[in-house]
Symmetry: C2
Subunit: 330 residues, 2 copies
């Protein structure tokens, strides 16, 4: 029997479809891994090709050979020079493509990913996230800073070199606003943060838990939209990513690297999206929202039903995918 | 300069990104079309293999060789036997996978699609949609009937044989409810149906218009989420698909076939999703909602930013893709 499961954060339902249910091991990629070179002459992100990207906004270390470089996206969808003034076009509204689009080049080596880099290297990526989050959120015109990572063609990227992206937008989109409303309603009714409550539940239940560290918890959500969806949450309540402390950042690097490493080894380097969902920059201290990381391996394809209704049909139980990931060696 | 454009139906913004803008012709598929046979012995939908699907719920003609068959999905995500009773599991809610999942086999020929079948054949598919819509919406437990079509692997199907699907759900999902709220607010403020107003705008402006018939209008929406997204709307105000008249159904078949045919020929048989968005079955006569068809060619891949914010970045102007489609011969 299939079942509908309710997502407390979004107030959306998913269907876990047992008629076509698969074992977690059915999702292990069968493709022979392509041998990717450490260096690619034509890659704009490889060392020596710095002239193919705009000048760095941030780098680590500050001097000498770089390990991390943050540059404006050369093909930025948004730029800080466009106008915010709304213009009526017939019955419709538009305004200039104002915003920021950064690229975080995560390592000099062309053939690494966040799951295979050293923990120290991943920590420096997280520090770059934090530095750019702080810098972008300081612009009064920015309402939301979204950090994300697209890995592989199915996840929407064709650039192999390890990189993340940050886009800062001058509005809070409906999807984020809807989550804020749901979580605020929960908090008004139950007097607590829904994310904090979910962490309590997952730790108590244990079946969907993948990792617990001093400061972070990682688990497969009860109402997973797709197989192996994984959330990583900071234990301490904080609504925006900018509120993270340095000791938490180290733990975050460990958690992200561990989860992505488990996926890399256990599922044979799947394509995935990683999204850091944070409250809007001007709602940086609210008691009902809690920033978190969503990792969504692109193992299935959302189709017409998902697009039309927002109800995702998944073919794997999060209890089983969590068990699978727990057993993959760190 | 990129621009944000506002979607009046969903209250969401999209970004038309000019830095990476492409010409409509850049989206023409380059793959050599696979030669697909008229008949495939292993296809459960081909004539002679009827024993591999459950018995037909509807067929046309009623006797003799069938041209259209509607069967329950053998691997249905939802079944009308499951329980609707909500069950608390820890802090979460779940209930049985109640619902209906039909498959509409659109023709006996294995290698056709809705864009290449005869207009008469497409009309019989639309009649099957209508018959099943009426039948499923008559069940008091059903709140929403979603008709959709997934064409090609990138659109989430691996079955080549031409088919559509219908899923009836015992709830109105948040995404649909949100559209109803937005359109109701528009109606309360402006005293008219937003879809009717959009049709007026598109006919007046003309740049995004692709097709107009006696009863339907097809155009590329102002805030297209992705290149070549196309909407087909009935001119007469009707909130649910079940309200369509027979003469309109003929025109609908013509419009759907023309648009899909233009895409098939102009873009070299792209993968796409078609979704018929209708009001909930119990809101069958509201003045603020208007059913419509969305066709979304899967030419680009939504990535982390889209998943995290709901803001879609598109790389083509709907004014240009409409012009391209208008020029493809019918």
């Amino acid at each position: 029997m299939s079942e509908f499961r309710h997502n407390l954060i979004t107030n959306e339902w998913v269907v876990v479809a047992t008629e076509r249910a698969k074992r977690p091991s059915d999702f292990v990629g069968s493709k022979t891994p392509k041998t990717i070179p450490e260096y690619s002459e034509s890659c704009p992100f490889c060392p020596g090709n710095e002239q193919h990207t705009p000048p760095a906004l941030y780098r680590y270390p500050a001097e000498g050979d770089w390990n991390i470089r943050v540059v404006p996206n050369k093909f930025a969808a948004l730029k800080p020079t466009d106008s915010l003034e709304r213009v009526q076009e017939g019955r419709y509204l538009k305004f200039g493509g104002f915003g920021y689009a950064d690229v975080i080049i995560e390592a000099p080596l062309h053939n690494q990913t966040l799951g295979t880099l050293s923990e120290d290297n991943v920590l420096h990526v997280m520090k770059a996230y934090k530095a750019r989050y702080d810098s972008l959120s300081a612009d009064e015109r920015v309402d939301l800073v979204t950090i994300f990572r697209n890995h592989g063609v199915r996840a929407g990227t064709s650039l192999e070199h390890p990189h993340s992206q940050i886009i800062a937008t001058p509005l809070v989109p409906l999807r984020v606003r809807a989550q804020l409303e749901e979580t605020q309603r929960y908090s008004a009714n139950l007097g607590s943060c829904v994310f904090c409550d979910i962490m309590k539940e997952e730790k108590k239940d244990g079946r969907r838990l993948v990792l617990e560290t001093d400061y972070f918890v990682a688990f497969e959500p009860y109402a997973s939209r797709s197989p192996f969806e994984t959330w990583i949450l900071p234990k301490r309540h904080q609504s925006v990513f900018g509120a993270i402390h340095l000791n938490e950042l180290k733990d975050m690097a460990h958690s992200v690297r561990t989860i992505l490493g488990k996926m890399h080894r256990g599922l044979n380097n799947p394509d995935y999206n990683l999204i850091l969902q944070s409250a809007p920059t001007k709602e940086e201290d609210v008691d009902y929202y809690h920033w978190y990381i969503r990792i969504i391996p692109r193992l299935t394809t959302p189709a017409g039903f998902e697009m039309g209704t927002g109800i995702y049909i998944t073919t794997a139980y999060p209890e089983e995918t969590a068990d699978f990931l727990r057993k993959v060696k760190n």
